[in-house]
Amino acid sequence: VVEGEQRFMKRFFSLIAIGLLVALLGGSLEVVYADSQAEEYRLKAAFLLNFARFAQWPSSAFAAHETELVVGILGRDPYGDALKQLQGMVVHGRKVRISYMENEPDPSSCQLVFIAGSESPRLAEYLLRFKGYPVLLVSDIPQFGERGGHIELFTRHNKVRFRINLAGLKSSNIILSSKLLHLAELVERK
């Protein structure tokens, strides 16, 4: 009798332990997902700055503001607080300024533009508008590179990666460091 009682007690505690474990794990998974959204854009914000660091603009690009590197945001800002982190950082001796742009942006007022996913429908218009200007175009809109954008951000295996369209860059007169190229996928010519 005693033996059976003991076996029962053991199983009981095991069940309680497993239940507790499942409850804990379920909670954490949800947090992870929410965090990963913010984390993704925190990374992408860092990427934006990093791209600026590996890019070399022609001097004409800074005609308006000699001392600033203006990062323009087109569309609804997906970054949350992450962009604020970039504000005031120094790249190539220039202070980074975040600029939220209008629907009709001035291509000569900034050096780097992030086109948010919200602008996917008007992408062609924007691409045309910035064509020939020394402005680095970055977006996480799928097929951005193939459609004529410069750097397309994408996620693979839960990691943020990017694709570079060398042909598109050529007309903008911006030179990207080979180190950056080394890390990127290249958009193949059609």
Binding site: F47, K159, K179, L183
Partner: protein, 710 residues
């Protein structure tokens, strides 16, 4: 301590080798240690530079990957470190320390934890090093690279270098050892040669060798110095050897001289220097020997004691030179006599020499052994007397000497050497007393006479002082003028104890012991005194003759004495006649002649006593200032019966006549003798026939009474 131990090492070569090896070893050790340390240091420096460079490159490459958190690319980048096999691990960390990428050379390689490796730079661990670099882009930290590099290679490299260095060290030490051997040989070889040279010299004392000089350095100079020293020593040695030789020669010469001297000393000790005969010492030894022999064999032997007659006179008159030559000749003759004696025929010349001995002066002793009868001794004595009496020619002089011999025979005349010698001496004196030129065997009574002779000698001195001597006068008669023309003064000695002593006995004694001078002086004085007295008594003036001995004659004092007496007593010089014997006249002729000439100038008469007994050359006679010849008594004795004596007397008278000399016969005792002498032409006489010698008082009377009644 070290120094001592070092200096305790046996040889220079060992010391040199130790020095060279020690120096080489130290140098090599230091250089090896330095090279090793430098190698380790530079190896680490190289590695450090290399690792820093790799870190820089990898960091640079990885910056973009870090910025974009591209783990794949980062890993790929790190993979390029495969090219450097020493890199074990490479780690890329993001700024929040998350690990972006890692590289491991092999799966089993572990990352070593390094708490102190937070800072940038190289951190050396035991077997690894960590290179840490913070990666920045535009002043912002994008991540950190850590490289873990294995030090195995470096350690292996160092180890093999040390091993190689040790090998090289050993090889170098071996080479140094060989070099040291060669070097020490080049240095010590000359030293060893020097040392061997020195030892050789020390061993053999051969200073003629030289050590060959091989080097020009200090050792060469040392060798030169050594050789120079050897040269000097050699020359000194030679000099020394020369001196030694000279010295040895000198010593040898001295030894020879010494031997000669010793021989001479022996000769002097045992032999008479003048004649080469044995001296008294050796002779006595010889006699002792013969005595011992004779005692055993009941043999007889004889000792002959010789004394040359009147040798003293010869010596005084002719000088010692002639005397010595005479003695030598006598010795020669004695030896010759013995040599021809059959009983000594067995003797060697040396032994013969020892059997004739000179006793000093003119005495000789002979030993005649193995006598058969005493007649043998007499025969030898005769032969000796005859041989010695042969005239001797010496430097133009013809000398005649005679000898008196005393013979003592063993065992009758003595059983000891001294006794025999004493008795032979006594016998010799007896022979002298017997008129010389003869030999006498010892008789017991002779001792008395020789004792007497000794007492005569001592008493004679007193006699002169105490005036025991008296003068007696024997008249001299001239038959042609029939008068007493003079007298011969004769001496008489009445001793209070010994009684009357004959002049025959004491005159020779006086001669021998230098008393003849005072005696003559005394006589002259007495005669002068008596003549003065007789003159004062107005007695007839007469001449008085005084005997002058040869021994005294050689002295100028005779002339002075004569002069003084004549002056003192106021005599006419013609009253004095000095009588000297033929012997005196002929010995020491020149001096005698001068004295006689002096006396003649004074006016004193000169008479030759005992004329005919000597062997004087008549040819010389005329050169002397002589007035009278006195014919010896021995011729007068037999003149009546012996025709020989008559012939001699006739010859003497003829000689006197031809030389215009007076002649007087002595010892005339009988009428017969007087008759013969008158017939032969001699008119002057002296003798008992006319008067015995008488005291002055008696003679005064005789003179006063015995007038021309003859």
């Amino acid at each position: 301590m070290v120094h001592r131990r070092f200096s305790g090492l046996t040889s220079i070569s060992t010391k040199l080798r130790v020095i060279i090896l020690t120096i080489c070893g130290l140098v090599l050790l230091f250089s090896t240690v330095a090279a090793t340390l430098y190698t380790i240091y530079s190896g680490r420096q190289d590695l450090r530079q290399k690792v820093l460079a790799m870190t820089e490159i990898a960091a640079n490459q990885s910056a973009a990957a870090l910025m974009f958190e591209d783990a794949v690319t980062a890993a790929e980048n790190l993979k390029s470190l495969q090219a450097a096999p020493e890199v074990e691990v490479a780690l890329l960390r993001l700024p929040d320390n998350r690990k972006l990428a890692a590289y491991r050379r092999a799966p089993e390689v572990k990352e070593v934890s390094c708490p102190q490796c937070a800072n940038d730079g190289i951190h050396w661990l035991e077997k690894q090093l960590h290179s840490v670099q913070t990666i920045r882009v535009d002043g912002n930290i994008v991540g950190r690279l850590v490289l873990q590099v294995s030090l195995e290679d470096l350690h292996r490299q160092t180890t093999s270098f040390v091993a190689l260095s040790l090998l090289m060290l050993l090889a170098a030490m071996a080479a140094a050892s060989a070099l040291a051997t060669w070097m020490q040989r080049s240095i010590t070889r000359p030293v060893e040669e020097l040392s061997e040279g020195m030892q050789h010299v020390a061993r053999t004392n051969d200073y003629s060798i030289r050590v060959p000089r091989k080097t020009e350095d200090e050792l060469g100079r040392l060798t030169d110095g050594f050789n120079a020293m050897l040269g000097q020593i050699e020359s000194q040695e030679k000099e020394l050897a020369r001196h030694r030789e000279e010295l040895e020669m000198l010593v040898e010469q001295r030894t020879r001289e010494l031997k000669v001297s010793m021989d001479k000393v022996q000769q002097l000790a045992f032999f008479d220097e003048l004649t080469g005969l044995a001296n008294r010492l050796l002779f006595k030894e010889r006699v002792d020997l013969v005595l011992g022999h004779a005692r055993q064999q009941k043999d007889n032997f004889a000792i002959l004691f010789l004394d040359l007659d009147r040798f003293k006179r010869i010596n005084d008159s002719f000088g010692h030179h002639i005397g010595d030559m005479l003695l030598k000749e006598i010795a020669r003759r004695l030896l010759a006599c013995l040599r021809t004696t059959d009983m000594v025929s067995l003797w060697t010349e040396e032994l013969l020499n020892q059997c004739v001995s000179r006793q000093g002066g003119d005495e000789f002793i002979l030993l005649l052994s193995e006598l058969k009868t005493t007649g043998d001794a007499a025969r030898v004595a005769n032969r000796i007397i005859k041989a010695i009496s042969q005239p001797i020619q010496l430097e133009g002089y013809e000398l005649v000497s005679t000898t008196s011999i005393g013979i003592a025979v063993y065992p009758d005349d003595g059983t000891t050497v001294d006794q025999l010698l004493k008795n032979a001496d006594a016998a010799m004196y007896h022979a002298k007393k017997e008129g010389r030129n003869n030999y006498q065997f010892f008789r017991d009574t002779m001792h008395e006479s020789s004792i007497r002779r000794l007492s005569v000698e001592t008493e004679l001195r007193h006699a002169l002082e105490q005036k025991q001597l008296r003068v007696v006068y024997q008249p001299l008669i001239d038959l042609a003028e029939n008068r007493v023309y003079g007298a011969e003064a004769l001496v008489r000695w009445s001793h209070p104890r010994l009684g009357n002593i004959s002049p025959v006995e004491f005159i020779p004694v006086a001669e021998e012991c230098d008393l003849i001078g005072p005696l003559t002086g005394y006589m002259l004085d007495q005669v002068g005194r008596h003549l003065a007295r007789w003159r004062d008594m107005r007695l007839p003036s007469i001449q008085v003759s005084v005997n002058v001995s040869g021994a005294r004659f050689g002295q100028q004092r005779l002339v002075e004495m004569t002069r003084r007496v004549i002056r003192t007593y106021g005599l006419t010089p013609q009253q004095l006649i000095l009588e000297l014997t033929e012997y005196t006249l002929m010995t020491n002729r020149q001096e005698t002649l001068e004295i006689l000439l002096h006396l003649q100038r004074e006016g004193v008469g000169i008479a030759i006593d005992d004329f005919g007994t000597g062997y004087s050359s008549l040819a010389y006679l005329k050169s002397f200032p002589i007035d009278t010849l006195k014919i010896d008594k021995s011729f007068v004795d037999e003149v009546a019966t012996d025709p020989n004596d008559q012939a001699i007397v006739r010859a003497i008278i003829a000689l006197a006549r031809s030389l215009e000399l007076e002649v007087i016969a002595e010892g005339v005792e009988t009428e017969e003798q007087r008759g013969f002498l008158l017939n032969l032409g001699c008119y002057r006489f002296q003798g008992y026939l006319y008067g015995r010698p008488m005291p002055p008082k008696d003679f005064e009377e005789f003179l006063a009474t015995a007038k021309p009644a003859l």
